[in-house]
């Protein structure tokens, strides 16, 4: 199997990565970043769709049907678009380990090119949102923080650690997600996640948000030391009690005396000579 990425996708990723790493501090409040759901894979479209059909037949059709029409086991994928498919396959949620398993994040089965091929195939069946291309040039991390705090923190926590939802599902941690996956998730609203349209979170705001996730969340400033997982003060409480008070008690055990002598005559040890 060829493992060379299509050149345009490669360039897009390198550019995005470079801009994420080296984006200059914004001089003004007006962000220029954008997220577009424009086509990013137009060059080898037909070949991609064909490859995608083959892969889909092998790994997806047993639950989703050979034309992605759905079945009792799995939903209809027509109209969900390449963005949805890319998100689910690249995060490893799909394929499921077995038809009744909960989708969990696991190492993706398919590489990037294969994932996009499957996505193209499903796109060709019923349209839908395409794989977004993320341009973080001059994205405003601070504006992204605001968007994150209002829209994302209630489920993913303000530190992006993720937490349990009802019915055994979790809002996943954001520490390992890519910029593209964030864009796809926000626009397609996978599983229990709500969907945010461009009229609610504009493309510019989404780029800001992605900039915050890939920087502030995934590379958090931790000048204070060990960060204890970002799950709230309960972890700090455990450390304060068992490490803080515990160490102080150990000091007390060192400084003070320990066992008291038993009453004279009741001991099981030899009596030493008294002065």
């Amino acid at each position: 199997m060829r493992r060379v990425l299509p050149p345009v996708v490669l360039v897009a990723f390198v550019v995005a990565l470079g801009l994420v790493l080296f984006a200059p501090a914004p001089r003004q409040a007006r962000p220029l970043g954008r997220v577009t759901l424009a086509d990013a894979t137009s060059q080898n479209q037909a070949a991609s769709v064909a490859e995608g059909r083959t892969l889909f037949e092998q790994s997806c059709s047993s639950c989703h049907g050979s034309e992605a029409q759905g079945s009792a086991l799995a939903p209809n994928l027509r109209g969900l678009g390449a963005a949805t498919v890319d998100l689910w396959v690249s995060s490893g949620w799909m394929p499921l380990a077995n038809p009744t398993a909960q989708p969990i994040k696991k190492p993706p089965v398919f590489d990037r090119q294969q994932t996009l091929a499957i996505a193209d195939f499903v796109e060709s069946l019923g349209g839908g949102p395409r794989v977004p291309s993320v341009n973080l040039r001059n994205a405003n991390v601070s504006a992204g923080f605001s968007v994150f705090a209002l829209n994302c923190a209630p489920c993913h926590t303000i530190t992006g650690a993720g937490d349990a939802l009802s019915n055994g599902i979790s809002a996943p941690s954001l520490h390992d997600v890519t910029a593209t996956q964030v864009a796809e998730a926000v626009r397609t609203g996978p599983a229990n996640m709500p969907r945010f349209s461009p009229d609610q979170i504009s493309n510019a705001q989404l780029a800001d948000l992605i900039a915050y996730v890939t920087r502030g969340i995934q590379h958090p400033a931790a000048p204070g030391g060990l960060s204890l997982g970002g799950v709230g003060p309960v972890a700090e409480g455990f450390v304060g009690l068992f490490v803080g008070v515990g160490v102080c008690l150990l000091f007390a055990l060192w400084i003070g005396d320990r066992s008291e002598r038993e009453e004279a005559g009741a001991g099981t040890h030899e009596e030493g000579a008294h002065a």
Binding site: S142, S259, E262
Partner: protein
């Protein structure tokens, strides 16, 4: 020279009259008597670091635009309280260390008060004549918890602000006067007129610390008056105190302990991050984060709020809201029980005599079992404050975790009681249980054959301690001429030089 110094003070304050009693005051040596000192010295650390923080913190809820060094907040509208705390963390040299030391010291402060209270409880040190001191101590616990809550709410961040919202709801839930109290404290319906931050500030840095300091003074004053309790053994009786005199032994050890505690707090402040408010963002009443709990000493309240079933009392035209039961009734009941415990126990056991010798926990199995099961109850509630985090990490459903805690909160104390009782009984039946044993060393003779000898003793071994001698009667006049040292200076005896 020392003589001249004391003479100067004597001429003005007559310190020598009580001074000798003071420096001869005896402190028992057992390590469990030092737990209260952990609380005292962590309070000292709190005061010292707190003074530093007050020089930079701006207790105002007014809005400002952040223009500091932390990029994700650049240009955002935040309160001055939040902005000043961010500046403390990133722009003031040593500011983050002081903030973290302050917060860690607060956790240690409340934690050591709880452990100290447990020691007092399990050894029966609250009995006559120390009931009043017990109540002073319980008040100190309440004040410490409150002051901690006020303190971590000052930065006006998203996590602590959510806690303030919940506090408003709990206050509001009190029958008859709840809405009035809430409106008065906040200056209106939530979020109030912005005065909550400055009010919390003055409560946190002035009013409550003054009360705490005053009560600590009363607490220690009563300790001086009653003198320490002590464990049996080593010549201890009801009418004496055995241990180390204040000067020089206790002063040296306790000074060392102060610095050890300060050092532990500094190392925690250096190495483990606490309350990273820059990650949380400015509090806005319409924003919230998941995986949020209060600091651990309020965690039992949060856990109670979660496990409480959704009951409310509806009366004609009125209601007793759901939050009242876990938020007001439970802590009210808890602290009433704590305050009344010495009287309750005296009534229940019929024992109203004066006690200065301590019980060993095993010798009071009913009290120990009761205390252990009550503590287990609150510990399970504290665990319940992290239901969502546990469900996530253990891959369980929220439903299951919540119901598990609802069951555990009843079952665990019921199980702990008889188990603790049994353990006490077993310990009572085993002589020398829990005592440090004198080891035996097996020695092989040169000609063969083995002999068993007791191992050499270590300093601090209580086994071969000499009898206690009256501290008032230290007489250095019998020392040899050569050893005569300037008055007040102790020389190491010649054979050790």
């Amino acid at each position: 020279m020392i003589d001249k110094l004391f003479a100067w003070f004597d001429d003005r304050l007559a310190i020598s009259r009580g001074g000798r009693h003071l420096i001869n005051k005896i402190f028992p040596d057992h390590w469990s008597f030092m737990i209260g000192e952990i609380a005292l010295y962590s309070f000292v650390v709190l005061l010292a670091t707190g003074v530093f923080l007050t020089l930079y913190f701006v207790p105002s809820a007014h809005d400002t635009i952040y223009h500091g060094v932390y990029r994700p907040l650049q240009g955002q509208k935040v309160s001055e309280a939040y902005a000043s705390t961010i500046d403390l963390s990133f722009s003031v040299r040593g500011g983050l260390l002081m903030r973290q030391m302050h917060h860690w010291a607060a956790n240690i402060f409340v934690g050591s008060i709880v452990v100290h209270m447990m020691r007092i409880f399990f050894t029966g040190a609250f009995r006559r004549p120390r009931e009043v001191n017990w109540m002073v101590g319980a008040t100190l616990l309440i004040l410490a918890i409150f002051n901690g809550f006020l303190g971590y709410s000052l930065p006006d961040d998203l996590v602590s602000g959510t806690g303030i919202r919940i506090a408003f709801s709990i206050l509001e839930s009190v029958p008859f006067v709840g809405s009035y109290l809430a409106f008065f404290l906040f200056g209106g319906n939530y979020p109030g007129n912005g005065s909550i931050i400055p009010r919390f500030f003055i409560l946190h840095v002035l009013i409550l610390p003054l009360l705490i300091l005053g009560l600590i003074g009363a607490h220690l004053g009563m300790l001086v008056r009653h003198k320490h309790t002590q464990f049996r053994g080593r010549g201890a009786r009801e009418d004496n105190v055995v241990g180390t005199p204040l000067w020089p032994g206790f002063v040296a050890k306790t000074t060392g302990f102060l610095f050890l505690i300060a050092g532990a707090t500094a190392l925690l402040g250096a190495l483990v991050q606490i309350n990273p408010i820059w990650m949380y963002g400015q509090y806005r009443p319409y924003e919230v984060s998941y995986a949020v709990q209060p600091d651990w000493y309020m965690g039992w309240l949060d856990g109670a709020l979660r496990v409480m079933p959704s009951w409310e009392i509806h009366l004609p035209g009125h209601m007793v809201p759901n939050a009242f039961f876990p938020g007001v009734f439970l802590p009210g009941l808890t602290f009433t029980l704590i305050y009344l415990w010495p009287m309750l126990e005296a009534r229940f056991t019929g024992d109203t005599a004066e006690h200065h010798l301590l019980d060993r926990p095993r010798d009071r199995p009913l009290r120990t079992a009761f205390g252990a099961s009550v503590f287990a109850f609150y510990f399970v509630l504290f665990g319940a404050s992290s239901t969502d985090v546990l469900a996530n990490y253990l891959s369980l459903t929220l439903n299951f975790v919540l119901w598990a805690f609802r069951v555990l909160v009843v079952v665990v104390p019921l199980v702990v009681f008889p188990v603790t009782y049994k353990i006490c009984k077993e310990l009572q039946a085993t002589p020398g249980a829990g005592q440090r044993k004198r080891f035996n060393v097996v020695v092989r003779a040169a000609a063969g054959g083995y002999a068993v000898e007791p191992a050499p003793e270590y300093p601090g071994y209580a086994h071969d301690e000499p009898e206690p001698l009256p501290v008032e009667e230290i007489d250095l006049s019998a020392i040899e001429e050569e050893d005569r040292a300037p008055a007040g200076v102790y020389r190491i005896p010649r054979q050790y030089r």
